[in-house]
Symmetry: C2
């Protein structure tokens, strides 16, 4: 296992996170893989908590993802149980048994059916999941549940993330103030396994599960579905949104009156997603790629992700090289409509190329200065339509190779 | 510009390449970008030479690619003009003018219409193309055309390839022996620009252009379309096949009687494609990924390329880590039908995982030994159908970052 990594140069401080009514936390050291740190998190939700979720599209998902998918239609959550160190992926029937045992144990201590316990695991793939170690700490966890615990929760789910990730906002539903807080883990590594992205958001608002689900699905599109670290899709990606209803806001039956809530949720998702990129493996620079003038928003996003995932663009950014030729290449390889002679490319707000060729009298000086910063802005205009998107990624550095190329030990 | 790189540890020696009847070469130092080396190649073909070609699918292709696409339907080639150092991409009207001037000049010295001159350029993108420098050496090139010149030709088109790439085979058409020889350049780099893959194959066989085109299109599927270095598609990728007809074989009107020719052509394409991978930027290890049991050959290839392009698989191979969890992840992210519980993964011929979980009593020792070698064999069986494919890639190393992250200087 690798030593702890130094904090990402793109790290952000943890914000102040007040308690959310109807939510209690406890963490424990179960010793699943790590030693001397917490690795299990139990979150209790008040009765009546509604839940929404979105999961990895990887065709080989972990057992916890399959479990959550199965119970999500119930729309009710009483607990969330997360462990770090073992992803419980590719473990066959034994993996499913570990999931069942964990949900049973958590349901027992929280007094609910196991089908109201949501599960997520992150860590090594294909290693047998020591579900017994989680079950063994369950009574202890239940005895220590407390409403303050955001930082501890954020830390317990880290693998080799270099900083804990959380965000919070308030909104109003009718005349009632509600809070939305979330935490996430990102693209740290556990030698030798892949990154897993997990995010959990809770609110004290009373919002039915069906409305939550719609808002979450829409909310992840411009946030978690617009980020990339290395183009590899984890088998465990999970975003869950829980609404305890303790804020006693006026009844909600559909999305009407939820504009403020939707906006605040979107901001929390955005903040968490960007923290995941900021902690991308080996990342030294954050890339924001704005694509305009595409034939559709979907096309714009695909082009943006082609740029953000291009190893040649990512290494150029790492090398502080405003290499618009590679950006043009990435646009062209995206498989989306593009016309060379309408294409324009800007870096740091300076247009370098327009109408398919370099701008007359182009001065690289301000662009080179921008490239030396931490946050690199790339803009591409296709000149074809009104589709636009913004995606975020990070550079590709020696740190990525170091983290992911080190042999298991 | 970077200094010359040491030869790839995966380099192969240049084979003996006898002359091909109807083909003459000349190279020159035009000083387009490099100093002290050849950078322009002129190839003359005998009258009556048929031609076939396939080109990049990048939507922002270079001007020479557009030129070749336009003249290819004529089916006749008298010349091939290639330069290294400037890709003539994203140069607008000026780029097209440079193409026209080069084709005019070559047509003049070879005594043919410019529409019988095929062009390819590789190097920096977006830099104005100094077409005049190519025109200036044309008379000199024409005066030195000679049938021996494979190695010189292979070297003149290198950018920062670390070794010249060529392959040759013989076949019989009817009772007549014919030869097929080709050369290629691959994924070297010119700081700061992307790799370009060019390959040119010539034969003395008499085969009509339409038949050649079909055979080339089929031939690149299991060769050039099954390799990847870094998932980035060049704006200049070009494969051209010329048939001089000097072998005087019996007349060919369709693919009947060409089984041997097709096989030999396939072998030349295969050899060249693998040399490109062997010279992948920073490559230390060649990956051969065999996918079986997919729902179709197309699906198998996509899954293979998802594995070959996965940064996490590539860094694991670089780190000599038989990380089948990452292989499973890459299968799952490919977007193709896959069932976790039918999946099997082998490395170096040793099955590590079957039926969605690790093989009982799996012994990593022989696999670890295999991973320390230069050529890494990965096998994935989907257990779903009869679709199969083999793809090739290379590992992702610090060398890749060094090559592509270095700032222009």
């Amino acid at each position: 296992m690798a030593d702890a990594l130094p904090a990402s140069p793109l790290a952000l401080p943890l914000p102040e996170l007040p308690p959310v009514a109807g939510v209690r936390f406890a963490t424990a050291e179960a010793g699943i893989r790590y030693r001397g740190r917490t690795d299990v998190l139990l979150v209790e939700f008040a009765p009546g908590t509604a839940v929404a979720g979105v999961f990895t599209r990887n065709k080989c998902p972990g057992a916890p993802v399959s479990w959550c998918r199965n119970i999500l239609p119930g729309g009710v959550a009483r607990g969330l149980l997360v462990n770090a160190g073992n992803a419980n992926v590719f473990n066959g029937v034994a993996g499913e048994a570990a999931v069942r045992a964990s949900a049973d144990a958590a349901g027992r201590v929280l007094g609910c059916p196991p089908e109201q316990i949501f599960l997520a695991s992150t860590g090594v793939i294909g290693a047998p999941m020591p579900g017994g170690k989680i079950v063994a700490v369950m009574d202890d966890l239940a005895s220590r549940l407390a409403p303050d615990g955001w930082e501890a929760a954020s830390r317990a789910i880290m693998t080799t993330d270099t900083f804990p990730k959380a965000a919070t906002r308030t909104a109003r539903i009718g005349g009632t103030a509600v809070r939305i807080s979330g935490f996430a883990k990102g693209s740290g590594m556990i030698a030798p396994d892949m990154a897993t992205m997990l995010a959990f958001i809770v609110t004290d608002a009373a919002v039915p599960a069906s409305v939550l689900q719609t808002m979450l699905r829409q909310g992840i599109e411009p946030s978690f579905n617009c980020i990339t670290v290395d183009s590899d899709t984890s088998t465990s990606d999970t975003v869950l949104l829980f609404a305890t209803g303790q804020a006693d806001n006026s009844p909600v039956t559909d999305a009407r009156g939820l504009a403020g809530f939707r906006r605040a949720l979107g901001e929390v998702l955005h903040d968490l997603a960007l923290m995941v990129v900021r902690d991308g493996e080996g990342a030294n620079k954050l890339m924001e790629i704005a694509v305009t003038g595409a034939v559709s928003a979907r096309s714009a996003r695909r082009i943006g992700l082609a740029i953000a995932n291009s190893p040649l663009v990512k290494t150029a950014v790492a090398g502080e090289d405003a290499n618009w030729g590679r950006i043009v290449m990435a646009v062209g390889k995206a498989g989306e409509p593009a016309e060379r002679d309408r294409l324009a490319v800007a870096v740091g707000g300076v247009w370098m190329a327009r109408d398919g060729k370099i701008v007359d009298g182009y001065d690289e000086t301000p662009v080179a200065a921008h490239m030396r910063g931490r946050e690199i802005r790339i803009t591409v205009d296709l000149g074809l339509g009104r589709g636009r998107a913004i995606v975020w990624g990070c550079d590709l550095t020696h740190g990525y190779i170091d983290i992911n190329g080190s042999y298991r030990s």
